[in-house]
Symmetry: C2
Subunit: 211 residues, 2 copies
């Protein structure tokens, strides 16, 4: 295996530390120390701490967004009207997938996503590309077809719920790793629980307007 260059080492270290301590809670010095790189390397390779966060966020979310998009492609190739359960699985599944083989990197990835998305620092809010929006729009349309009679706003609310459940679960997993239980099977179990939970939730009849 080729040893990673400094840029990659910094990205790895930053991913780890941002996930664990947040953006404001992570110092550039801590990143470079963990990466075994020089302090100035962050400025040199990324320009600033904020741009480093953006680079980390992009690297983490890109494969997830791609998997969500590919999953929807697959469903739509089979039928123009995929059932709710399969839409839920295609959308939420990639959020549970472990990234490289093994280790806890999957949980850490999720932890990082939540940290970034919920991070109150302004730098952590404006890094998303157009891909995320496109994928969400496509799923929104597919869910709308699968759930006729559901008001668009309530559908949007439910889609947020999908993300919320998966994300918060992974945060919990990350914070309190289950004792003596391999992460992989635990992740698989949580994934199936989430599909059950969310499919039922998405399939609920529309809330009747206030009487």
């Amino acid at each position: 295996m080729a040893l990673p260059d400094t840029r990659t080492k910094i990205l790895d270290a930053a991913e780890h530390l941002f996930a664990e301590h947040g953006y404001s809670g992570t110092s550039v010095r801590a990143v470079t120390d963990l990466a075994g790189a020089n302090l100035a390397a962050v400025s040199y390779h990324f320009g600033s701490k904020a741009e480093l966060l953006a680079a980390v966020a992009r690297r983490v979310t890109e494969p997830i967004t791609a998997a969500q998009s590919a999953g929807l492609d697959e469903l739509l190739a089979r039928t123009p009207d995929p059932p709710v359960a399969e839409l839920v699985e295609a959308f939420a599944g990639p959020l549970f997938d472990e990234m490289p083989a093994g280790s806890d990197s999957g949980a850490r990835t999720s932890r990082l996503i939540v940290t970034i998305l919920s991070d109150p620092a302004e730098e952590a809010r404006s890094w998303t590309g157009p891909d995320e929006d496109t994928v969400r729009e496509r799923y929104l349309a597919a869910f709308a077809r699968a759930l006729p009679g559901l008001a668009p706003q309530e559908l949007l609310f439910r889609m947020r719920g999908i993300f919320a459940v998966t994300a918060v679960d992974r945060v919990e997993v990350y914070h309190r790793p289950s004792p003596a239980c391999p992460t992989v099977t635990a992740g698989e179990e949580a994934r199936r629980w989430a599909i059950t939970f969310l499919t039922a939730a998405m399939s609920a009849p529309p809330t009747r307007a206030r009487r």
Copy 2:
């Protein structure tokens, strides 16, 4: 109305700023400036920045926990086996309630809770009292009776889902306030959507063990 003392003014300011910028992202100076108090007042009244956060968190969560507890009392007084829908409403409802009359303090409160709960700073993790645990245990037992056949771990997963959906929704509401739409009705609508969404999710049949 009696003007608030310095301690209260600091609590209010800190609640505002912690909600908006997180723990690490908020400086003691910003708090005292907003409160119109002296910098040293934080050390004097609370001891440290971390203890200030704990005080803010306690003040915010106490009434919510109390409302959850009272709601469950009410249900159990009527029947020993409340249905899932009512349990969901009693548990999730207080998370949606606006705190004092009017303004956006409800959304801000929720924002604060999520910020604190998801804040990666260690100081933000160990402030909960025994009350929160007690209430959650009681609801856990009630849900277990209402959902026989559901494995305890999956039930725990689903209860986390309740919190996740409500919390993340409120964060979204806080970050992107809907244009020209009174917060109160929007909050009411989201509340009913959440009840629908979560009742269906909680009522889902148990996930079958892996084949």
